[in-house]
């Protein structure tokens, strides 16, 4: 038995694609007039209404004193607190009898960027930084020595202060 098929009869304006195409194009072209939300990374790294948060914890930076020496006194608290065990420190003494780090190395690959080193530092020497662009040609370049840590120029992170939770 043949199946009887009922063919719907519709008006031309309902089955024409022209109307839908024009509607779509209208939406597309309307975007030309709207403000752009795309950030042109890497040419642009921050915009009017977006920048890296203050509390961003990225690769480290060692702050220096007026003479350009690292502020670190090699107290040993950062390797002690580091949960990833990525800080190597050998203390020594300079000509004036000041304690300073003979060796200070941070393995940025091993680091988990918790920021404990900055929090524990009594001299405000080691900081995590507002920095995230890290590319190198070899893996060992990710072990930052003291010279390299001191040479970093990016802004340092502001750690969360529980007494000022909103950063005001």
């Amino acid at each position: 038995m043949a199946i009887s098929v009922k063919v719907m009869q519709r008006k031309n304006q309902e089955i024409s694609y022209l109307r839908a195409a024009l509607k779509g194009m209208a939406l597309t072209f309307s975007h030309l007039k709207r403000p752009s939300v795309t950030m042109q990374y890497p040419e642009e790294t921050k915009t009017e209404d977006w920048k890296l948060p203050e509390r961003w914890r990225g690769t480290h930076r060692m702050l220096t004193d007026e003479q350009g020496r690292a502020k670190c006194v090699a107290c040993g608290l950062c390797p002690q607190i580091c949960p990833a065990n990525c800080i190597k420190l050998v203390p020594g003494e300079d000509e004036e009898g000041h304690r300073y780090p003979l060796v200070y190395e941070i393995d940025e690959f091993r680091c988990v960027f918790c920021g404990y080193c900055q929090e524990v530092c009594p001299e405000e020497a080691i900081h995590v930084g507002q920095h995230y662009e890290n590319a190198e040609y070899s893996r060992d370049r990710f072990v930052y020595d003291l010279e390299r840590l001191c040479a970093q120029t990016h802004p340092v992170s502001t750690l969360w202060d529980p007494s000022d939770a909103r950063g005001e």
Partner: protein, 521 residues
Amino acid sequence: MSEELVKLTIEGVEVSVPRGTTVIEAAKEAGINIPHYCYHKGLPIAGVCRMCLVQIEGAPKLQISCATEVAEGQVVRVFGEEESKARSSVLEFLLINHPLDCPICDQSGECELQDFTFDERQGQSRYNDFPKRYDPAEQFGDDVMFVANRCILCTRCVRFMDHAAEEPVLNVSERGDRAFIGMHPDAELNHPWAGNVVDLCPVGSLISKDFLHKARVWELDHTDSICTGCSQGCNIHIDTREELVVRLRPRANEDVNKFFMCDEGRSNYRWLNSGDRIEAPLVAEGGSLVASGWDHALARVAQIVKGSTGDAVVLASGKSSNESLFFLRELFGEFDLKAHFRNFTVDGELPLSGVEGLALREERIPNGTGARQLGYDDSFNGVSNASIFLILGDDLEGITPEMLSGAKNFIYVGTTLPEAARNADVVLPATTVAEEDGTYVNRDNRVQRFSQARTAPGMGRPAWWAFAEVLKELGRGDAVDTAAEAFDAMASNVGAFNGMSYSTLGKNGQKLAESSAGVSK
């Protein structure tokens, strides 16, 4: 101090202590540590720091517990409002001149000022205008450095030099707020026991140049041990950091060394970190020593012992433990054995004159008494016509290969391989005093335990273990797994040690039975 007991109440805890005890000591009996700086049990009482103030019921004002004797029915309060406030004020005054340099201070982590300040939870100073300041560091002696800024003038160092060392080179110079610890202008702090002022100093004012910047205290592991420097047998802590011995410090034992140790012993730790160690058993094959395994090497020793008869000569180091010396004797039980140990003597004792019975002794080995008890003597002068010759330990200075050549078989058990031992048939890697558990007997016949502080490099094992394994191989004994078992085996075989075990020795040791103590000199 009479034996009459006095009953008193400290913070609600009733304690009975002998008459004449100070309140601060009685409080320790009650489990309360009253904060203190100038007071030290091994020194005369000064009462200058005023930190140990307590309330004694009936007394018109607060008393310093270090200089107050107990009395019957006394009621002492330590943590009440008034005395806590007084102590916290004293602490605040002490902190006026104390620099906030804990991050670079070597004492940090074992500093009493730091600990009590932390307990007081006094985070901020109300005074930071004109703290007194001196030269950052002054050299007091060969190993002692003085950081005047950190000093809280407790005078423990002055009293140690006056009353214990009896060489008064330190004093309190100037007065009042200008006071500082001064040294005699023509003297140096180089008394053979001067290093103790570093331990006595409650803050980081007197510090050891040897330990300076080497490690932070909280990275260290402390192991109870015995000094190997002389026959006095001072109780010590071996402080290790990641398997390296970084310093030795005295451990309190009222019966042996009180609270002190000499500088000679204190600096005698570098050999424990020696890098030229034998790491595997070596067996002579085709004229040279070849690295081997324990099974093969022990089988070789067993073969030598089995195939020989007649004379055997052993030469043990004066640092060998009783356990090793005992099992060594057992190993050659069926031979005509000549047992010797290496003795080193230096003319003249270096006493700590203010403390009775404490000196750096002439006999510069730790276990001469133990060796004599176990039938060893120190009259070695060469080997001739022996079937087996065995050396235990490395102390071979003054011994030439010719002196060792008169034996058919030569076994060497030690930690390094000196020239004289290169023609041995078997070399077994042993452990140092820091790498094994064991006991020594000091000159007063006191048997004292030492414990393992670091792991032995490579395949090194304690000598008693190796000898017990050979005995097992020969079918003359069971395996001995621990030093405690080795000691028990010795205690049941050697009269002088009868009835002793590691648990009866404890931390302070135990004297040999009186009747059997005649062998030693």
